[in-house]
C-alpha cells in the first residue's frame, strides 16, 4: 500500500448531507464512476488529492532504493530487468500525477509539498537496500503488499484513478514475479546467497506489514474513505491477506519468516502473526527512519539541479511560440 494514514474529511450521515451530496453518494453506491468535471464534495476531492499524491510520491521516491543497485546488478539480464522495473515506477508516478491534475492540483504543487515535507510517501522507501537480495525482497514483498491494495483500487469510484490503477496493477504483478524470481535464484544458490536472501526477508518483513498502515482500531480516517470507495478494504483485512499469501511463498523458498508466533489458525482459516513495531512506524512517518533524510535530499537535489534544465526548455518553448506568431503575422 503506497498510501498510509491519508487524512479524510469527516463522515456525514444521510440526514446531514445536502441534496447534492446525497445524490453523489447514491451514484457511488451504484458503482458509477465519478469523472473530473462532475460535481464532487470538496472533501472527496481533497482526500483523493492527498491519497493519489502520496501514491505518486511513493512511486518516484521508490525509484531510489532500487536505483541503488542498477549499476551493481550481477548480470546484463538482471540489469535490464531492474532498469525496466524502475522505469515502470517512474511511469506510474506520471499516471498518478496526471490523475491528480484532473482534480485541480499541478504536479509542481505536489512536488513542492513533497519537498517541504508537507506530503508523505510510503514508509517502506525509507529502508535501505543493502544487498542484491533486497532487489528480490522489494519486488516480492513490497510490490506484493502494494498489489494487495491496488487490485481492489481498480474498482475505486474516481474514474482517472481507477484507470491508472488498472495499468499499474498489470506492471506491478509482473514486478512481483521478477522479485520472486530473484529470491528463488538466491535461495537455491550458494550459502552466501541464501544468507543474503534470509537477511533480506528478516529486514523487509515487518516494514512490508507496516505498508498497510496502523490497525483498524487506530485508523481514524477509514470510514468516510470507504463510503466514498477510495479505500476498498480495511488495513487489517489487507495485511491478513498479504500474510496468508506470502507465508507459503517463503516456505517454498526455504526461508523463515522472522516471526516466532506465526501459526496457521484452522479455525479462522488464516495465519496468526505478530504485529510490527508501531512505534518504529510512527518514527519513520515522522522522518526518523533509516533513510528519510537521504531520500528527501536526493529528490530535492534532483529538483534544484534541474531548475536550469526546465527553465531552458520553457524559454525555448516561449521563443518558438513567439517565432510562430511572428511568422503568421508576416504571412498575413
Amino acid at each position: 500500500m503506497y498510501a498510509q494514514m491519508v487524512k479524510s474529511e469527516g463522515m456525514k450521515s444521510a440526514d446531514e448531507m445536502s441534496p447534492e451530496e446525497r445524490a453523489f453518494q447514491e451514484r457511488i453506491d451504484r458503482n458509477e464512476k465519478i469523472e473530473p468535471k462532475e460535481w464532487m464534495p470538496e472533501g472527496y476531492r481533497k482526500t483523493l488529492i492527498r491519497q493519489i499524491g502520496q501514491h505518486a510520491h511513493s512511486e518516484i521516491v521508490g525509484q531510489l532504493p532500487e536505483g541503488n543497485w542498477i549499476t551493481r546488478a550481477p548480470t546484463l539480464e538482471r540489469k535490464a530487468i531492474l532498469l525496466a522495473k524502475v522505469q515502470d515506477e517512474a511511469g506510474h508516478g506520471l499516471y498518478l500525477y496526471s490523475a491528480a491534475e484532473t482534480l485541480g492540483v499541478s504536479r509542481d504543487e505536489l512536488f513542492e509539498k513533497l519537498h517541504s515535507g508537507a506530503m508523505k510517501y510510503s514508509s517502506i522507501f525509507n529502508y535501505p537496500t543493502l544487498t542484491w537480495a533486497d532487489m528480490g525482497a522489494v519486488g516480492w514483498l513490497v510490490d506484493g503488499a502494494a498489489i494487495m491494495n491496488q487490485v481492489p483500487l481498480q474498482r475505486t469510484s474516481y474514474g482517472p484513478y481507477s484507470r491508472a490503477m488498472i495499468r499499474i496493477c498489470k506492471e506491478e504483478s509482473f514486478h512481483q514475479r521478477q522479485g520472486y524470481a530473484i529470491m528463488m535464484k538466491m535461495a537455491e544458490g550458494t550459502p552466501e546467497q541464501k544468507e543474503m536472501a534470509q537477511d533480506a526477508l528478516n529486514r523487509f518483513w515487518y516494514p512490508a506489514l507496516m505498508m498497510f498502515g496502523p490497525s483498524d482500531k487506530d485508523s481514524v480516517h477509514s470510514a468516510q474513505s470507504m463510503a466514498w470507495k477510495i479505500k476498498m478494504n480495511t488495513n487489517d483485512e489487507l495485511r491478513q491477506k498479504f500474510v496468508d499469501e506470502t507465508v507459503p511463498q517463503a516456505e517454498y523458498l526455504g526461508l523463515t519468516v522472522p516471526d516466532e508466533t506465526l501459526r496457521w489458525n484452522d479455525e479462522r482459516g488464516h495465519y496468526d502473526f505478530a504485529e510490527p513495531d508501531w512505534e518504529e512506524f510512527f518514527e519513520v512517518i515522522k522522518g526518523n527512519g533509516p533513510c528519510n533524510r537521504e531520500r528527501l535530499e536526493a529528490r530535492r537535489t534532483a529538483w534544484d539541479n534541474g531548475q536550469w534544465f526546465r527553465d531552458g526548455l520553457s524559454a525555448y518553448a516561449d521563443k518558438s511560440a513567439a517565432r510562430r506568431r511572428a511568422a503568421t503575422v508576416a504571412a498575413e
Partner: protein, 284 residues
C-alpha cells in the same frame, strides 16, 4: 491453506532456444583468420553500449523532470539490450565457452574496448546530453551502415538496434537544440559541455588494424566514410542550437578502443563487477 500462486514457470530456456533457432547462418562467425579482429570489433560495439548505458543508468531517480527519469532509464535499457546482443555474438565468435556476462563482468579495464567518450562522468544534464548526442549521431550512422553488413548476424543486430537509436538521436538532438537556444544559462552549460567533450569525439573515426580488417571483410564500414554524415548531422543541430563548434582537434583523447582508458573506467568496473568478482561462479 492458501495456494502458492504460479510464480515459477520456467519459460526462459524455451524462449532462448527458439530465438537461437531463428538466427541466420553466418560463415563469418566461424572464420578463424578473421576471429581476433572480429571479436575485438564486437567488443568495441558492445562495450560502448555497456559503458554508456551504465553511465546513463546512474541518473535513475535523479533526473531534472519525471519525463527525463523515464527517458534516461529507457535509453540505458536500450543500450544494455544492445550490449547483450553484441557481446553475445562476441562470445560466440571467440568460441571459448564464455558468455556475454563473462565478457561484461570478468574483463579488466585493459580489455575493455569502448570509446573514452562513453566512460566520462555524467556531470550535469548538459554534459550527459551532449555526450549522448555526439555518440548517438555516430551510432546512428554506424548502425545504418551495418544494416548492409556482409555478416547477416551483424546486420540483424544493427537493424534491431537502429530502431531504438533513431529515437535516441531524435531525442538528444531535440534537447540539444532546446537547451542551446533556451536561457542564457542553459546555452552556456551546453556550450561548455560541447567544448569539454569535443576533443573526445574524434576517436570514433580513427581506424586501426581491427577496423581495417572488419572493413575489408565487408562486415563494417570504413570509419572515415562515416565522418561526413556525422559532421553534417552535428553541424546542423549545433547551428539550430546556436552553439559553436570548437576550433580545436576532435581526436586529442583516444585509445579506449585499444584498451587505454581514462581513470574513470576502473571505478565503473569496480562497481559494475562487484558481485561477480566477490562471489565467483554464483548464479544470479
Amino acid at each position: 491453506m492458501p495456494s502458492l500462486p504460479d510464480m515459477t514457470t520456467p519459460d526462459v530456456v524455451a524462449l532462448a532456444e527458439s530465438a537461437a533457432a531463428a538466427q541466420s547462418h553466418d560463415p563469418h562467425v566461424q572464420d578463424v583468420d578473421l576471429k581476433p579482429a572480429f571479436f575485438d570489433w564486437l567488443c568495441r560495439m558492445g562495450d560502448n553500449t555497456l559503458i554508456l548505458g551504465h553511465r546513463i543508468s546512474e541518473w535513475c531517480g535523479h533526473g531534472p523532470a519525471l519525463e527525463e527519469d523515464i527517458a534516461l532509464a529507457n535509453t540505458a535499457l536500450d543500450l544494455i539490450g544492445h550490449t547483450q546482443m553484441w557481446l553475445g555474438l562476441a562470445a560466440e565468435v571467440q568460441s571459448e565457452g564464455r558468455t556475454a556476462d563473462d565478457l561484461a563482468f570478468l574483463r579488466d579495464a585493459m580489455k575493455f574496448r569502448n570509446l573514452q567518450l562513453a566512460e566520462l562522468p555524467n556531470g550535469d544534464m548538459a554534459v550527459t546530453l551532449m555526450r549522448e548526442f555526439l555518440f548517438d549521431a555516430w551510432h546512428f550512422h554506424m548502425l545504418t551502415a551495418l544494416t548492409r553488413s556482409a555478416s547477416p548476424r551483424v546486420a540483424e543486430i544493427a537493424a534491431k538496434a537502429l530502431k531504438e537509436v533513431s529515437y535516441h538521436l531524435e531525442r538528444s538532438s531535440d534537447l540539444v537544440v532546446r537547451l542551446g537556444d533556451g536561457t542564457q544559462e542553459s546555452h552556456a552549460r551546453m556550450q561548455e559541455a560541447l567544448d569539454r567533450l569535443w576533443p573526445y569525439s574524434g576517436e570514433m573515426f580513427v581506424a586501426d588494424a581491427v577496423d581495417d580488417a572488419v572493413a575489408n571483410a565487408g562486415i563494417a564500414p570504413v570509419l572515415a566514410d562515416l565522418q561526413p554524415a556525422w559532421q553534417q548531422t552535428v553541424e546542423e543541430v549545433l547551428a539550430e542550437a546556436t552553439l559553436t563548434r570548437p576550433e580545436g582537434r576532435a581526436d586529442v583523447h583516444r585509445g579506449g578502443k585499444q584498451g587505454r582508458h581514462t581513470e574513470h573506467l576502473g571505478y565503473i568496473l569496480a562497481q559494475m563487477q562487484f558481485l561477480q568478482r566477490a562471489y565467483p561462479g554464483a548464479s544470479w
